[in-house]
Amino acid sequence: MDENIALIIEWVLKAVILAFGLITGFAYTTYYERKLLARIQIRIGPNRAGPFGLLQPAADGIKLFFKEELIPAQAYKFIFVIAPILTMVPALVILAVIPWGESFELFGRQIALSMADINVGVLYILSVASISVYGIVLAGWSSNNKYAMMGGLRSTAQMISYELALGLSFVGPLMLAGSMSMLDIVRAQQETAWYIFYQPLGALIFYIAMLAEVNRAPFDMPEAEQELAAGFHTEYSGMKFALFTMGEYVKMIAVSVIFSTLFLGGFDGPAIDRFVLLGPLYLVLKVAACLFVMIWVRATLPRLRYDRLMAFGWKLLLPAALFNIFITAVLILLFDLG
């Protein structure tokens, strides 16, 4: 019985730490993005609230708490209210299968540095990612507004198209590691080399598809400000709007974590076998590097035209992903890698 209680406490603690880590991460990703964008555009960025503007995310949060929340009279109220929640929850739960390190001993208990190392971890990530489009499409539909509707439709089309390429680029690391468990994939990379060296094309396809999946520039069609007046969240205000922003940034962090785990060796790093607790630190550093590239891309590339975006997804990215699987399979058989 004691063992069970200890197990429950361990899980609850890990879940709380992960959720709080993600939410704090969200707050400081917005700050990171604003600072970095400003630097790239030769501005200074937020620098008033606290030292170096470090309290800016807190100030934004407090401001949004006191905003009036409007619900359009013709909206479908129930769906309108749950849509932001549906965007937020998948983004939070998707990281449950990510390993943050090997297990370590604390108070005589082996504590694994992951929430759940399930044997279909990769498929779990894909299926949770495929649910996250519902929040956006339902927000667009329930607002009963043509801009919001167009935004919702665009995001559906875009996410369906790029999800295929994203799913197929998972297959490369999966074949090399011979397992769908994320922990096994990281261990396989520790034994050989980070998969970005074995799978450069796969990593590139994954990165592009994940930009599209989280609606980041240059794929931020669903919320194109100039033509759609912010797209699917036009009618949202106050904390519901904040939840959408939060969902978007948490998803940015989540896909960066997944990219780091699949292609950059996850928690792998120097001296990791002696100091297990360095694992989360290495992963956070890799995620920060991924986020940096995302923000850099946003500051550099203009938005794609919509038909180009679809054509790029279907006619270039998807065949390239299939080709990558074929080549990987042939090379594994030739050099007996897997």
């Binding site: 479908y76 769906i79 399930i118 044997n119 279909v120 498929l123 779990y124 894909l126 299926s127 949770v128 990612a129 495929s130 649910i131 489009v133 519902y134 499409v137 339902l138 539909w141 009963n144 509707m149 919702g152 439709l153 559906t156 089309a157 369906i160 999800e163 397992s179 769908m180 468990s181």
Partner: protein
């Protein structure tokens, strides 16, 4: 009743309720959302049966791809939020009869099976530790799909069917005047 039975009954009730709502809603988007709930309930049943792989694939394929495609098609082709869909047509009687027939024959066949009322014991296999069993089963599933002694013929027939549907979709969407 065990906790498992309570969860099963609640899930089954949710599936039946949402399936009923799917066929009775006049608003097609609402019907599609209830369909998502039904499919999700089936995924929960898979989890209860410890078929994690099937549960995850159910969510990935049915909820993440098929249902979202349906919602997409409804939004593109219908007026937004219109409630003018006719729920039943003249085939409703036949459909109801067929459903009753299939359900009752299923109940009769299952009732005749000797192990219908016994509890299934958890999956075990000699020589395989329980935490690697799932991986083992998924690998066997994949191999049996391309094994001539197992399911290779249904697998190939299904893929030919999908190819035919793909070509059909291209033909329907083809612009003839170009």
């Amino acid at each position: 009743m065990t906790a498992l039975q309570v969860i099963f009954l609640a899930t089954a009730a949710m599936i039946l309720f949402s399936a009923w709502m799917v066929v009775t809603r006049r608003n097609l988007v609402h019907a599609a959302l209830y369909l998502v709930l039904t499919l999700f309930g089936v995924a929960v049943l898979f989890v209860l049966l410890e078929a994690t792989f099937l549960a995850v694939v159910q969510v990935l394929i049915y909820i993440g791809a098929i249902a979202i495609l349906m919602i997409f098609a409804i939004m593109l082709t219908r007026r937004v939020a219109s409630d003018d869909t006719v729920v039943a047509n003249h085939n409703a009687g036949w459909a109801a009869m067929l459903a009753v027939l299939v359900f009752s024959s299923l109940v009769i066949i299952m009732g005749a099976w000797s192990q219908f009322t016994t509890f299934a014991s958890p999956l075990t296999r000699p020589g395989v530790p329980s935490n690697e069993l799932g991986q083992e089963i998924v690998a066997e599933l994949g191999q049996s799909l391309v094994d001539p002694d197992a399911y290779v013929i249904p697998f190939e027939v299904a893929s030919v069917l999908l190819l035919a549907a793909l070509i059909g979709a291209i033909v329907v969407a083809w612009q003839k005047d170009k």
